[in-house]
Amino acid sequence: MSPEEGAPDAAADDAARDYLETTIWAEVDRALSGITARPVTDEEERSVIDLVVRVPPREVVTALRALRDAQGMNFDYLRSLTAVDYEEEGVDVVYHLYSVETRHNVTVKCRLAADRLVVESATSVWRAANWYEREAQEMFGVRFEGHPDPRNLLLPEEMTDVFPLRKSHPLAEIEVLQGEGIAYEEGEL
């Protein structure tokens, strides 16, 4: 939640952060009892307006289901599911949840090791996860176990060995060119 209107005020910002990291976290923590979840409070990784919760990959779907069914603030709406590549540190799978009734946001993250990019599919919790997981799978090579239809979504069907959104995948041409600063050799034109 962002109570400020447009221009963020420093005091209001702090208050909002306190609210996220104590009140909301308390609720989330209660819902996630039995799961090793921890809030991200680190300045470097923190989200500006939402509470971020880290969950180990093995428990992530259990945690998501618990959050969906939690009594106080049931996070029944999956806004977005995506992945972030941190190269050798692994890949983060990020779930943005929202509660339609209580209007609270929470971001659930799990870090997958670079050599074992497997996580259980969230399609059993929200059907909305379906296409998002397919996209994350083809773009990052994260395998979602138990996905009902793990074909490629945006990329060509047979393009299953290349993961374009990984940092190791070069962005053709433009990245190369930006390094040089010159788009055309004189003789080419």
Partner: protein
């Protein structure tokens, strides 16, 4: 056996050929004009300009299109059934042109006066459904197939109200000598010299008009060719001259049905004062009668364009339901009412009352029917729960 044309006594075969040739030539020109007019009129309804490039105000657009279509390659899909595919346009085109034989443009100005003219016209003009189905089947294309099946279903369903609405009028035509009932188009027109039948039979006219829209595959009944669904339907695979034959057939049918409607319901060349003017001056009368026919058909055509520019498309099940559950019973009721009037010799005002009541009923049915949402037709029992999520 001699016919006469322009007052000349000539051989009956030659006479037929001359009349037929005139009609076909005239028709081709008129159809091209109609295509141009439709584009212009609909453009105006949509606040656009329409064709402007070819000739002044785009008036040469249709000849240009015709030339372009002639120059295009006549393609046939590899998997198409060659005979069925190539013959289909003729089956659409020829029956429609055969209808010309019995259409009265002015007094004594038709190719032939047929005693059962109305019956002939109706019988011949329904053959073209065969052509549509052939086109759809022969193309080996699923859109074409779907379109053809829709065309067949629709053509048959709306043929009935169309025919019966005309029959209702044919029943009550009063001839000299207190005889009632005629299928001769000339007699039907001549009898409307004072009051056209739309006054006595408004319900029949409404049904005829709706069924005409459906027969012509015009909005809101353009389901077989629905651009946004089946992408042109049966003739999606056709190109060049064969496609243009479908197109020509479609517009000829439009013209012919409008002429038929003008003749049967709007008094054709006879109302108002058709015969009186002709009595004064034969040449002027002929011109006047031609103008009357053309104007009435023109009004009908204009309203068809207007409807096309306004209406959304019905769905195929709604279309069928409307025909079988609404139009057909109402037509039967109209015929029954007419029969009662004839049997008991009631005055014509009763005809008007019965038919007008039916018209109001039709409006009310249309008004009510749509306010009730229909359930999903083909939902598997138990809904979608438990199915694989994809």
């Amino acid at each position: 056996m001699n016919g006469d044309i322009f007052g000349l006594e000539i051989n009956i075969w030659l006479d037929a050929l001359v009349r037929l040739g005139l009609a076909v030539a005239l028709m081709t020109v008129v159809v091209m004009a109609l295509i141009y007019l439709e584009r212009k009129v609909i453009a105006r309804f949509q606040q656009r300009l329409g064709p402007t490039r070819t000739g002044p105000a785009g008036i040469l657009q249709s000849p240009a299109d015709a030339l372009k279509l002639l120059g295009k390659e006549d393609l046939r899909p590899k998997n198409a059934d060659p005979w069925v595919f190539e013959l289909a346009p003729y089956f659409v085109f020829i029956p429609i042109f055969l209808v010309f034989v019995a259409i009265p443009f002015a007094f004594d100005w038709q190719i032939r006066v047929l005693e059962l003219g109305l019956l002939y016209v109706l019988a011949v003009s329904s053959i073209n459904i065969v052509g549509w189905v052939m086109a759809g089947w022969g193309s080996d294309n699923r859109y074409a197939m779907l379109g053809a099946l829709r065309a067949a279903a629709q053509g048959i369903s709306y043929e009935l109200p169309l025919v019966l609405a005309l029959v209702a009028v044919a029943m009550v035509v009063s001839l000299p000598g207190d005889v009632r009932g005629s299928l001769n188009l000339v007699e039907i027109v001549a009898e409307q010299g004072h009051i056209p039948y739309i006054v006595w039979q408004p319900l029949a006219f409404a049904i005829f008009y709706i069924a005409m829209l459906a027969e012509l595959n015009r909005t809101p009944f353009d389901i077989p060719v629905g651009e946004s669904e089946v992408v042109g339907g049966p003739f999606v695979e056709y190109s060049g001259i064969r496609w243009s034959m479908f197109f020509l057939g479609e517009y000829t049918a439009l013209l012919l049905l409008s002429l038929r409607g003008a003749a049967v319901f709007l008094g054709g060349w006879a109302w108002p004062l058709g015969e009186e003017v002709a009595d004064q001056n034969a040449a002027l009368g002929l011109l006047y009668q031609f103008t009357l026919t053309a104007a009435k058909a023109g009004v009908l055509i204009f309203t068809i364009f207007w409807v096309r520019a306004t209406m959304p498309r019905l769905r195929v099940d709604q279309l069928m339901a409307f025909s079988w559950k609404v139009l057909l019973p109402l037509t039967f009721a109209q015929i029954a009412a007419n029969g009662l009037v004839l049997v008991y010799g009631w005055p014509d005002v009763v005809l008007l009352a019965a038919s007008g009541g039916g018209l109001v009923l039709l409006a009310v049915i249309i008004d009510r029917a749509v306010r009730r949402p229909t359930p999903r037709p083909g939902l598997p029992s138990g809904g979608l729960e438990g199915e694989a999520v994809r």
